[in-house]
Structure formats: structure tokens, C-alpha cells
């Protein structure tokens, strides 16, 4: 099972690839919209890429709850278990 750190590393790489946010800036307490300036279409891309990478399903009605990177890491971790 992937640890939180592993998930963060992989998620940061996805955010870097899609939105051009340097992976080092993708920290657990950062908000996707407020801090990382990720727009709505890029967020959809990130969710889809995360689903593929982590083998989980992130329904649309859950996406709005994933405000911070930490929210997303927690969601992916629980969905994997």
C-alpha cells in the first residue's frame, strides 16, 4: 500500500505535468485553486490522471471537497484501502 508520502510525490508530479506548478510547491496544506492557481479544467485533468495513476475512482461530487493537496492525498489513501 502506498504511503501518504508516496501519494504526495506522485500527485505533485501530476500537478507539475498538467498545471506547471513546480512539484516542490505541491505541499499538503496548499489549496489547489487559492495557492496553486489550478483552474477548473486543469483540476478535471488532475483528477482523471490521479484516478489512472492510483487506481481509484474520484466521483465529481467528491472533487469539490478536495480543496487542499492534503484532502486529495487523504481521499486517495482511503479509497485505495
Amino acid at each position: 500500500m502506498a504511503t501518504k508520502t508516496d501519494i504526495l510525490t506522485d500527485l505533485a508530479a501530476i500537478v507539475d505535468e498538467i498545471a506547471g506548478v513546480p512539484a516542490d510547491d505541491v505541499q499538503l496544506d496548499k489549496e489547489f485553486v487559492g495557492d496553486l492557481d489550478v483552474d477548473s479544467l486543469s483540476m478535471v485533468e488532475i483528477v482523471v490522471a490521479a484516478e489512472e495513476k492510483f487506481g481509484v475512482r474520484i466521483p465529481d461530487d467528491q472533487v469539490k471537497n478536495l480543496k487542499t493537496v492534503g484532502d486529495a492525498v487523504d481521499y486517495i489513501e482511503s479509497a485505495q484501502s
Binding site: 498538467i18 498545471a19 506547471g20 479544467l41 478535471v44 485533468e45 482523471v48 484516478e51 489512472e52
Partner: protein, 418 residues
């Protein structure tokens, strides 16, 4: 040379391109002048199944030039357009201190013949293989034909209007015509005009192949595009983009801009003959050239150079030559130097008019015409076709660029020396 003083004079102050010959204007122009071909054998695996396995892909991949995140949000046609637009914008001096365009007086008219076809088809592949949730949320803004124009508008802050004329292979010239109109109608002071195309993909190539429109000279790619040569067997698909900055003379002169040439006028007609074949009488093309002359206040004798549409198809090249002689008259056609730069660049479809207008402007600016290569066994078309670089006269001179498109679209643009 007569001049219609009632019309706002429109001038060309910036040029940009990324083409099969080079990644910018300088390398493209030098390549054209030296007769360099941009046509190559395709290295993609998918090409093996096709009858035509050659094309003129861009010399410099746009993803090597553009910001990575910006590039991944654009279709290849949008990437190419942005590269060309950024060069033209900087070339016009915008971005320099004191050289500014009022956003509400700044417009874009950037054409495409086919639009974001690579995005459309690659997302359809994803849909079939992985389902709807894997389709890119950026697919629509990437595949829509106005995507490249909109991304240029966003980049330079154009707020007067952003347009995308679509008329197949006449699209690029139609964008230039629209830009001239926007300035003459007082709707803008500066218009970034041009065309882009990125259709080197198995589906468009198979489809053009089924129309029997493409050359299949796979063993000699650099000799495949041979306008007016008796051995021609169709056009070579090219990709790329070219952009011109048009500006009212008043605006250009107020900021002390360098002027390449005057965009004097345009003629647009329709054949109403056939969806794909040119009217063999060439009458629509003739009327387009005559209209461009009239709108520009030019006489046939003023035209010393034509960059022809001449795509290397059996019917089209002959019909255009006849139309040129009809439009200018046999006397005027005597002092005229005609060329087809498609012999080197291939056919860039919706970007062709823009790239060839750029070549026409540079021919007037440098007073030298690039050659038509591969004209080994010429048809007798009654025109003086440049097979080597040819000097143009000094003094006040003018030139035409022709573009014709499937659907029976004919667009001629007249340029005169600055």
C-alpha cells in the same frame, strides 16, 4: 500607378512563421531563396499503410519552443500559430518601450482550414480505448477552429475582435482580407492576421489520398511538389503557420514602425462550379484578381510578381495560369514574374495564403522573387515562371498572392512596395 486616396492605407509591420523550411522568418526566407525543399519521407509508423508517405512537416517542433504547460493546452495547429504570432508581434516592435496597441483597437483574424483535427482524432481514440472519463476536458478549446486565434488574442490582449475565417485552402488569404477590412472600416488600428494548419495525420492524408489529390512520389520527396511541371501528380501536404501584423498607416507612422509593404486590397469570389474541382475556365480566380486590383487602385501593368496558388495538381495549375493571363491581359503578363513557393513548402492548406503572402511581402521588400523548384519539363502556360531567384525592378511596384480553396473559394491579395 494610381492611388485611391479615399481608403485608409494598411501596412504590414510585422512577420512571423514556423514552416517546413525553418522555425522563423529569416530561416524560411533564406531557405526559399536557395530553393530548399521542406518535403520529407514520414517517419511515423502510421505512414506505412498510406499510398502517400511524404509530407512537409515543420522544421522546428513547436513544443521545443513554447512553454511546456502552454503547449499542452493547445492543439498542434494552435502551437504553430502561437509561435508565428509571437515572432510577428515582436518583429512589429510591440512589446518594446513606447510601442503599444490599445487593446480595444487590436484584433486577430487567424484562419485554419481544418482546425484541431489531431486533438479531435486523438481524443476519439481515447474515448474508444478508455471511455468518456479519459477524454481531455481541454479537447473542445483545443479542437475548435477558433482556438488558435483565441489563444493569440489572449496572449497579446486583443479586445476589438477575434475572428477565424474558414474557406479551406483560401482561409489564410481570407484572414488577411478581413484584417484589411477591419482597419478600413475603422474597427481596429492593428490586426494580427494569418493562418495555421497541422493536419499531417493518417486520416486527413488518407482522405486527401482518396480524392487523388496527393503526390505519391514517395521515393523522391523533394521533387514531389512540382507546380506546372508535366510530371506533377498532386500536392504535398504541409503544416505550419504564418502571421502578418497589419496596421493603419497612421498608427504605424505615429510609432515609427518599420513598414515591409502596403496591404493594398483584396478580391474574394466564389466559383459556384464544384465542391472540389477548380472551374476550368478560371473565371472566379480571374474575377478575384481583377477585384483585388480595382480595390487597390492598381493597374494590371503595376503587377510585377504573383505568388501563385499553384499546388502541383494537374487541373489547378493550368486553370490558374489561364486566369492570371485573363486577369492581367496578355501585355501585362509579359513583364510578370510568377512563382510557386509550394514547390518547396508543400501545401499548408489554411496557412498557405498567409505563408505565401509573407513571401510576397518579402519579395517586394527585398525586391527578389524566390524560385519555383522542380520545373524540369514545364507546361506551356504562357507565363514567365521563375526557376531561379529573380530580381524585381526598383521604384513603385506591386504583387499579388493567390489562394483558392475546395468549395470554390478564390482570394487574391494585392501588396505594393512601401
Amino acid at each position: 500607378m494610381t492611388t485611391d486616396t479615399n481608403r485608409t492605407r494598411v501596412v504590414v509591420t510585422g512577420l512571423g512563421t514556423t514552416s517546413p523550411i525553418g522555425g522563423d522568418v529569416t530561416s524560411t526566407w533564406e531557405g526559399l531563396m536557395s530553393g530548399q525543399s521542406g518535403v520529407n519521407v514520414l517517419k511515423h509508423d502510421w505512414a506505412e499503410q498510406l499510398g502517400t508517405q511524404i509530407a512537409a512537416e515543420v522544421a522546428v517542433d513547436p513544443t521545443d519552443v513554447l512553454d511546456r504547460v502552454k503547449a499542452r493546452r493547445l492543439d498542434r495547429s494552435g502551437q504553430l500559430a502561437l509561435v508565428a504570432a509571437l515572432e510577428a508581434w515582436a518583429d512589429a516592435g510591440f512589446g518594446d518601450e513606447g510601442d503599444e496597441a490599445d487593446p480595444e483597437r487590436l484584433a486577430v483574424a487567424l484562419a485554419s482550414g481544418i482546425g484541431g483535427v489531431q486533438t479531435l482524432l486523438s481524443n476519439y481514440d481515447v474515448l474508444k480505448e478508455k471511455g468518456p472519463r479519459r477524454v481531455s476536458p481541454l479537447a473542445i478549446p483545443m479542437l475548435m477552429p477558433n482556438g488558435p486565434a483565441a489563444s493569440i488574442g489572449l496572449t497579446i490582449g486583443a479586445k476589438a475582435a477575434v475572428h477565424t475565417p474558414v474557406s479551406a485552402c483560401a482561409s489564410g488569404n481570407e484572414a488577411i482580407s478581413l484584417g484589411i477590412d477591419l482597419i478600413r472600416l475603422g474597427r481596429a488600428d492593428v490586426v494580427v492576421v494569418g493562418g495555421t494548419e497541422a493536419a499531417v495525420h493518417p486520416l486527413p492524408m488518407a482522405a486527401f489520398g482518396q480524392m487523388r489529390a496527393l503526390s505519391s512520389r514517395n521515393d523522391e520527396p523533394e521533387k514531389a511538389s512540382r507546380p506546372w511541371d508535366k510530371g506533377r501528380d498532386g500536392f504535398v501536404l504541409g503544416e505550419g503557420a504564418a502571421v502578418l501584423v497589419l496596421e493603419s498607416e497612421e498608427h504605424a507612422s505615429a510609432r515609427g514602425a518599420r513598414v515591409y509593404a502596403e496591404a493594398a486590397g483584396a478580391g474574394i469570389t466564389a466559383d459556384s462550379h464544384d465542391i472540389a474541382q477548380p472551374d476550368p475556365s478560371g473565371s472566379g480566380a480571374t474575377r478575384a484578381m481583377k477585384t483585388a486590383l480595382r480595390e487597390s487602385g492598381l493597374e494590371a501593368a503595376d503587377i510585377c510578381h504573383i505568388n501563385a496558388h499553384a499546388t502541383s495538381t494537374p487541373l489547378g495549375d493550368i486553370a490558374e495560369a489561364q486566369a492570371i493571363r485573363q486577369a492581367l491581359g496578355e501585355d501585362a503578363a509579359e513583364g510578370l514574374v510568377v512563382t510557386s513557393t509550394k514547390s518547396m513548402t508543400g501545401h499548408l492548406l489554411g496557412a498557405a495564403g498567409a505563408l505565401e503572402s509573407m513571401a510576397t511581402v518579402l519579395a517586394l521588400h527585398h525586391r527578389v522573387v524566390p524560385p519555383t523548384v522542380n520545373l524540369d519539363d514545364p507546361e506551356d502556360v504562357g507565363l514567365d515562371i521563375a526557376t531561379a531567384r529573380r530580381d524585381l525592378p526598383t521604384g513603385d511596384i506591386a504583387a499579388l498572392n493567390n489562394s483558392f480553396g475546395f468549395g470554390g473559394h478564390n482570394v487574391a491579395i494585392a501588396f505594393r512596395s512601401a
